[in-house]
Structure formats: structure tokens, C-alpha cells
């Protein structure tokens, strides 16, 4: 169907429209899970710190 990579990227003259659509779509679908992972890691770190702080308090009381 495509005779050369250049022809593929030219998309029959629709390169701007096709690649802007697919590019932004790929960007969103990659960034969203990364943001979610960052949110998950942040809450796990907070919970770890809280746990450590509690342990510390208990040791000081003893």
C-alpha cells in the first residue's frame, strides 16, 4: 500500500491532520497512566511516613 516511508508519513497530503490526531491521542494515553502512578506512589509514600512516625512515637514513649 505504501511505496516508501516518506509516502507513509505524508499521508496523502493529510499529514498535519492525521499525525496531530494520533500524536495527541498517544500523548494522552501515555501521560494519564503516568500521572495515576505518580498519585499512587505519593499516597504510598505518605502512608509509609505516617507508619514510621507512629513507630518512632511508640519507641520514645517506651
Amino acid at each position: 500500500m505504501w511505496n516508501s516511508p516518506a509516502e507513509f508519513f505524508a499521508m496523502g497530503g493529510y499529514a498535519l491532520y492525521v499525525w496531530s490526531s494520533f500524536g495527541v491521542c498517544a500523548l494522552v494515553l501515555i501521560l494519564e497512566p503516568l500521572f495515576v502512578r505518580a498519585r499512587y506512589k505519593a499516597i504510598v509514600r505518605r502512608l509509609q511516613e505516617e507508619r514510621l512516625a507512629e513507630q518512632f512515637d511508640q519507641e520514645n514513649i517506651e
Binding site: M1, Y17, V18, S21, V36, L47
Partner: protein, 256 residues
């Protein structure tokens, strides 16, 4: 007879158990990689069909290939809204914590899908219609869907008490459901610039078989993606909202 009763009882029990955040959290963790693998498989197959198998369109040339992400994103934006509203409604009726969290986890995925639908639509409309945007019934109702998602997210974020936020969000989500059939039937009810449905249950599809396959594979990819990201986000929300529960303190990832 006794055995049957016993079986149904245990099944019911298991489902109830799964509806508690503490049992759902590890199950979700195990499911996430499976849905990522499915996303990748359908994504690779779908992109391959979209770019290397589906023939060029007689009227729109290569520009029509935007359909392979535009239609799946639009479908998912509507479908996710219904799923989100169903979870929110369940939470409202049965007062279950997990269902409200599920609704909260799905809202951003749906909002992104609505955004992608509008974005790819603009980049398709410009070369084919000569305009990035028109105030057409289909486009306008899809924009309202995006605002409904954003409104749901903003409303929940603005109320400090999570239980009250769940209730307010659920009512907004349920009222907004009326917009989904409006989007779907807009091309029939009004004289729109946007074309009619490409795929219909009652008619043979008005496109080449391979084009249809590309679209369905991409739709499956978006679907699996939505589940994977939804489960990832619901796990974060569970930890945030159950932070003081004992089972969270006992998790291996928290204990270090």
C-alpha cells in the same frame, strides 16, 4: 437442594466480599497487568490494520484514517459516562463506598476520551468540512458531555466530606445521563453536518470490512485501556480514603 443453597450462598458472599475496598484492592492489583497486556495486543493489531491493511478512502483519501481513533474515543466517552453514572447510582442507593470510588476513578478517563473525541474530530473536520468547529448538534452535545465530566470532578473536589461529595456527584452524574442518548441520536434527530452512524446494529456497515475491523480493534484497545487506568486510579483512591484503616497499615507496600 441443600447443596444448591449452599453454593448460591457462598457465591453471594464472595461478591459481597469483593465489594469491600480491602478485598478489592489486591484483586485490582492483580488485574491491572492483564488489562495492560490486552491493551497492547489490541492496540498493535488495531494500528496495524488502521495503517497497513485498511484501504484508502475513495472520497477522503488518507485523511479518513482519523476515524480509527475518533470513533473509539467517542464510543468510550459515552460508554464510560453510563458506567460511571451506574456506579455513582449504586453508591447512592446502597451506600457502598467502593462504588462511589469507582465512579470517581472513571471520571477522568471519560473526560480524556471526550477530549480526544473533540480533538480528533476538529482535526478531521478542518480538512473535510473546512472548519475546526461548528455548533452542530453532535459536536455541541459531545462538548456538553466533556463539561459534565469536568463538572463531576470539580464538584467532588470542592466538597470536603467524601460521603457528601459522593452523593452530590452521583446526582449530577445521574441527571447528566440524559445527554448520552442525545449525543447518540443527534445525527438522526437534527440535520447535522456530522455524518450519520458508520456502524449500526440493524443495517450492514457502510464501510469496507477491514475498516470496520480496524475500528473494532482500536475500540477494544481503548476499552481495555480504560479498565486498566480505572483500576490503577481506584487503587490510589482506596488508599487515600482508607488511609486510617487497619488493613491499609498492614499492606506490604506500606510496611516497607
Amino acid at each position: 437442594m441443600n447443596e444448591v443453597n449452599h453454593l448460591s450462598k457462598t457465591r453471594w458472599f464472595n461478591w459481597l466480599k469483593l465489594s469491600s475496598p480491602s478485598t478489592f484492592y489486591p484483586v485490582a492489583g492483580k488485574l491491572i497487568p492483564i488489562f495492560w497486556i490486552l491493551t497492547a495486543i489490541f492496540g498493535i493489531a488495531g494500528l496495524w490494520v488502521s495503517f497497513f491493511v485498511a484501504p484508502v478512502d475513495a472520497v477522503q483519501g488518507q485523511g479518513y484514517r482519523i476515524i480509527f481513533i475518533h470513533v473509539p474515543a467517542s464510543w468510550m466517552s459515552m460508554f464510560l459516562y453510563l458506567v460511571m453514572a451506574a456506579w455513582a447510582g449504586l453508591g447512592l442507593v446502597f451506600n457502598t463506598r467502593l462504588s462511589a470510588m469507582m465512579a470517581q476513578a472513571l471520571a477522568p478517563v471519560g473526560a480524556w476520551m471526550a477530549f480526544l473525541s473533540l480533538w480528533t474530530g476538529a482535526f478531521w473536520g478542518k480538512p473535510m468540512w473546512g472548519a475546526w468547529w461548528v455548533w452542530d448538534a453532535r459536536l455541541t452535545s459531545e462538548l456538553i458531555l466533556l463539561f459534565l465530566y469536568l463538572g463531576f470532578i470539580a464538584l467532588q473536589a470542592s466538597i470536603d466530606n467524601p460521603r457528601r461529595a459522593d452523593k452530590a456527584g452521583a446526582i449530577l452524574a445521574l441527571v447528566g445521563v440524559v445527554n448520552v442518548p442525545i449525543i447518540y441520536f443527534s445525527v438522526k434527530w437534527w440535520n447535522t453536518l456530522h455524518q450519520g452512524a458508520s456502524v449500526s446494529v440493524t443495517k450492514a456497515p457502510a464501510m469496507a470490512q477491514t475498516m470496520l475491523w480496524g475500528m473494532l480493534l482500536m475500540a477494544l484497545c481503548f476499552w481495555m485501556y480504560s479498565i486498566a487506568v480505572g483500576l490503577m486510579r481506584v487503587r490510589a483512591i482506596i488508599l487515600e480514603r482508607e488511609a486510617h484503616a487497619d488493613w491499609v497499615r498492614q499492606l506490604s507496600e506500606v510496611k516497607i
